[in-house]
């Protein structure tokens, strides 16, 4: 597949607003001044590549990767899978997908998480994989719990899994979150609500995918991801103004 051409400029209205008083921390962490917009350069069109040698056999199985297979994590077993494509609907093959999440009780294994839900000795909460040649990926994990967080008086995060994606260029870099179909906390979450375009928020909600589930073993959720694409044209390398 060709990977030439400038990156398609980001549609900022498809992304969360940077400043949102309902998500208090954004108020002091969002730039006041406009971003400097310009066409991508080789600095954004290139990016790190990671090979299969990086990925361990258990890396995409969060149920057992923390205990090295010794004992499974507690929780509802789920498979999360999907495709990574670009805005031109082309698959993004062999790209790194990293995930992290809370355990079944809504607790992260992190020095700063002081929520009193217990840690699971057999759950770390991170995983990674590479997409295959068709842009497909999958993880096995447990359904993360919802949890309270200090924002407004009584805010709770819906069940979610964080996703980190590289694509093939530094300008495609993206972190997002997958939510779960039917979770009533999505509509109450000020972080989800930073995405003002309803259709774009819907695209962050993974549907239950019974056809991909395994009887007597795990449910499945489908989460497809779109990364920035590149403009395809024969007029790419002319100096500006010509």
């Amino acid at each position: 597949m060709t990977e030439t051409g400038r990156l398609i400029p980001r549609r900022r209205d498809a992304h969360p607003v940077p400043y949102d008083p309902d998500y208090k921390t954004t108020m002091t962490r969002s730039p006041n001044l406009p971003l400097l917009s310009m066409e991508s350069t080789p600095s954004e069109e290139t990016g790190p590549r990671f090979g299969h040698g990086l990925i361990g056999a258990l890396d995409n199985n969060l149920i057992v990767n923390f205990s090295k297979g010794a004992a499974p994590a507690i929780g509802e077993r789920i498979r999360v899978h999907g495709r990574v494509v670009d805005e031109n609907a082309r698959p993004v093959p062999h790209t790194l997908v990293e995930v992290w999440q809370a355990n079944a009780g809504g607790r992260y294994r992190h020095v700063r998480d002081t929520y009193f839900a217990p840690l699971d000795p057999n759950f770390g909460g991170c995983g990674r994989t590479l997409t295959d040649e068709n842009g497909y990926y999958e993880f096995l994990t447990i359904r993360p719990g919802a949890y309270p967080w200090p924002n407004r008086g009584n805010d709770w995060r819906p069940m979610h899994i964080h996703f980190s994606l590289f694509g093939h260029s530094f300008g495609q870099r993206l972190i997002t979150q997958a939510y779960f179909e039917g979770d009533p906390l999505i509509a109450r979450c000020p972080i989800a609500a930073t995405v003002k375009d309803r259709g774009q928020l819907d695209q962050l909600v993974a549907p239950l995918d019974m056809a991909a589930s395994r009887p007597m073993d795990y449910l499945a959720y489908r989460f497809d991801i779109v990364l920035r694409g590149r403009r395809q044209t024969m007029f790419e390398n002319k100096p500006e103004g010509m």
């Binding site: 108020m27 600095s43 992290w100 980190s164 774009q200």
Partner: protein, 199 residues
């Protein structure tokens, strides 16, 4: 009605949150052993050609507070201005590094090779720079910026030339503070706000 374009929309970003380290640099986050080592520990290995430099700084929110929870990624060319994968690129330069603000002081350090100037699509040379991407709780979409070097000739750089308010160019300059040592501070908001990029 018109023809259907068939163009998709990029998936919406969401904040990396306070625990972004778990997913990206788990050993740093206190989960050693999940992977052999954290990804992007260093942008170079032994034998990389060029000047080894250390860039230190901190990142400040709109109140001036040095944030303790930010994570950074850097991407850069080798000492001769070639990106990894390009013909002739230095095999000892991966170009990619992940680093984080210290959880107690907020300070960050990037030890790397000083990149060379890179040729742009229009043939103009971009002054030596390191691309930076910043994520943290409260940042809803990762922020792109660049580190340039105050001791280089930046006068013809195409990106810097587009900054209308010339004093703001200074926000992208790493300042020499000793042999091979630079200081680069980031301000998300308010006086001295760093120039962030939509690129």
């Amino acid at each position: 009605m018109v023809q259907k374009l068939g163009v998709l929309t990029e998936t919406a970003s969401q904040t990396g949150g306070p625990y972004v380290h778990i997913g990206c640099i788990p050993s740093f986050a206190g989960l050693p052993g999940v992977y052999p080592e954290d990804l992007g520990l260093s942008p170079m290995s032994d034998g990389a050609k060029g000047e080894v430099i250390t860039i230190t700084g901190s990142i400040h929110d709109g109140t001036g507070w040095a944030m303790r929870d930010a994570m950074f990624e850097s991407w850069q060319a080798d000492g001769a201005g070639r990106y990894p994968g390009q013909p002739g690129a230095d095999p000892a330069v991966s170009g990619f590094c992940r680093f984080a603000a210290d959880k107690d002081s907020g300070a960050f350090t990037l030890r790397t090779i000083k990149p060379g100037a890179v040729r742009g699509h229009d043939g103009r040379m971009m002054a030596p720079h390191i691309s930076i991407w910043i994520v943290a709780r409260g940042i809803n979409i990762g922020l792109h910026t660049r580190i340039y070097f105050a001791d280089e000739d930046n006068s013809a750089d195409p990106l810097l030339a587009r900054i209308e308010q010339r004093p703001r160019v200074e926000t992208l300059m790493a300042r020499p503070v000793g042999p091979g040592a630079y200081r680069f501070d980031i301000r998300l908001q308010g006086p001295g706000e760093t120039v962030f990029l939509d690129i």
